[in-house]
């Protein structure tokens, strides 16, 4: 196999990965009132990691992100289930959620919802599952 000559791809992807990760965080925190949420935030995070896989190869990315993504998926599902059970401990229904207005130092008057904790679990589950699938079927072993 001949040597790859992909200077342009490497240079562009170094900037694009940062933009995609920032956009995924924006999508994650803009749930509830506007399009976004845990699922699509996790999927765009996976898009950034897939771009890294395409450019740098699977070994280098696995060396630098030394996380077992099956465990990430399991931890995400556990977080989602336990935030649902937390509503039952307070005497409400399963997956009960509440929100309140809080005054934060930098952000000013902010609305904080407990559904964000559930969304963290959903995002971790989506990231773990998608990256496990991609690393399983994309490996050319």
């Amino acid at each position: 196999m001949k040597e790859a000559n992909d200077v342009i791809l490497r240079t562009v992807s170094k900037a694009a990965v940062v933009i995609i990760l920032t956009f995924s965080i924006h999508l994650f925190i803009s749930g509830h009132h506007r399009p976004g949420g845990g699922f699509i935030g996790g999927l765009s995070f996976v898009a950034a990691i897939v771009l890294l896989f395409l450019v740098y190869g699977i070994d280098k990315v696995r060396r630098n992100i030394a996380v077992d993504f099956k465990k990430v998926a399991g931890i995400g599902v556990l977080i989602s289930v336990f935030t649902g059970v937390g509503g039952m401990l307070a005497g409400k229904n399963f997956l009960y959620q509440t929100f309140g207005q809080v005054h934060l130092p930098v952000f000013g008057q902010t609305e904080l919802a407990t559904a964000v904790l559930f969304d963290v679990g959903v995002a971790l589950a989506v990231i773990g599952t998608s990256l496990t699938i991609i690393m399983s079927i994309g490996d050319d072993r």
Binding site: A4, I40, L54, G57, I134, G138, D139, D140
Partner: protein, 94 residues
Amino acid sequence: MIKVMLYLSTGFVTLSILVSIYRLIKGPSTPERTQALDALGINMIAGMGVFSVILRSTAFFEVILLLGILSFIGTIALAKYMERGVVIERRSSD
């Protein structure tokens, strides 16, 4: 007047998307299909932009960004498949 222009441009962008889909299905070789997929993504972004101008809404900007990201990654994956024969390599060259 501007309304007519915007509606006409959505029509032409739709026509262009249809032509791209024809080339995507019919195209005899892989490079033509890759080019058609890239043009399809760009035309979808353009149509979404014109649509959000018609509706005077900023709700579609995230859709535009996401379409751009996914089209970029898809084009890179197909181009790398044509160049190297494999999409995700185990070891990089350096």
